[in-house]
Symmetry: C2
Subunit: 212 residues, 2 copies
DNA sequence: TTGAATATTCAACATTTGTTGAATATAGTG
DNA sequence: CACTATATTCAACAAATGTTGAATATTCAA
């Protein structure tokens, strides 16, 4: 386990702070302090603050996107010839996130919250999501089309939107479900969140997308 | 139609800006400029910036909360004696938001995005949601318990969490569904979002909460 | 019309902001 | 070794930040 470079420490500190407080809620000095690094070093390595934010977001976005595609393709290959099930597709979409969350790397957990922030921000969504995720999300939607024959394309998109929202709130880890349920559920329990999300979402898709 | 006071203009301007850029992404001077008001006036009327934000959030939260409770009670009264359906409860939960969105008051549309921001922010969720929404959300969850006999309380809470997430992303109006669907769907089309969300969510609840 | 209460303006403040340029240290290469 | 490129520090900058206190205007009741 090699110790991270100063450059990596900056990314990690920025990741953690941006995830919790958003882009404008964090100063470069806070990042530098947490990374135990001189203030000027962030600008030297990453340029403007906006570029640092983009760098933080893209670092793991690429890993995540590749992992998702891999899982989706593996799932398609496994059921050779046979049609995939709706559940398999949704599972392939969620599994990489679950694995990331369960990994011991706390950076991934921070990144999940950052992803949620970008997904729900009107400003950053438009800037970052298209280039980072669109291509592979479209593959996912194509797969859904194939497993839901006759479904209207708008229905599929709206259902995907609901999945996306349920996922985003899960990633945000606001602790709200802990408070509302008096501790019966925990925001940090991704296993619980994912295991139920798959049947929930699959049932929703089938109901909305069946050709009445 | 009486012209808004300066104090109201500040709230309206703050609402619009906070909704789009978040708490830290907005300066008091931006708010004052948009409200066509002196900078010092915001502090005079609302105190600290944080207090202004809370005032903006709470103004419509109370209206919304009251409206939701009213619709839920009316729905319970209508089906007198008979058990409510799951769909009726979900509809009661969503209807006030739909009405707010469809009203001509652009302030309500801004507020929807602000609500989404608070719901997904780890920081603000904890500060504002419990006092503003918890009581009536618990009523909603009680109603769900009654209509889903035998369901585990954790399952209900997780399903509510998914509804909450789907709703939050809808309210955010990021424009992402417009881009992903090449214009087949629109973020601003709350009618489309709402009409599909009810069957989607109801089917999800039934699947997850049935006692296997 | 008084006087008091409230509303609004103006100017200023101490901090904090992101960023830069020059100076210095470190690492890598011939 | 010397030389160069990269990395890091230090100090400083102009601009923007939230907030305040005193001064002025407006409202409103007596």
């Amino acid at each position: 386990m090699n110790t991270p470079t100063k450059s990596e420490r900056i990314l990690n500190a920025a990741e953690e702070l941006f995830a919790r407080h958003g882009y404008d809620g964090v100063t470069i000095r806070q990042i530098a302090t947490k990374a135990k690094v001189d203030v000027a070093l962030a600008s030297y390595h990453f340029g403007k603050k906006e570029d640092l934010f983009k760098a933080v977001f893209r670092r793991r976005a690429e890993i995540l996107s590749a992992s998702r595609r891999e899982v989706l393709l593996a799932s398609q290959a496994q059921s050779n010839g046979e049609k995939q099930t709706l559940e398999q597709i949704i599972e392939a979409f969620l599994l990489p996130l679950k694995l990331a969350q369960e990994s011991n790397d706390p950076g991934w957990r921070n990144y999940m919250a950052l992803l949620s922030y970008v997904m729900t921000s009107p400003v950053w969504n438009e800037i970052l999501m298209p280039t980072a995720f669109d291509i592979h999300v479209k593959e996912f939607i194509d797969a859904l089309e194939q497993v839901l024959p006759g479904a209207k394309i708008e229905d599929i998109h709206w259902c995907y939107h609901y999945v996306s929202g349920a996922l985003a709130l899960t990633l945000a880890q606001t602790g709200r479900i802990d408070r509302l349920s008096d501790g019966a559920c925990q925001s940090s329990d991704f296993d619980a969140a994912y295991n139920r999300m798959i049947p929930f979402v699959a049932a929703g898709f089938r109901e909305v997308c069946r050709g009445d």
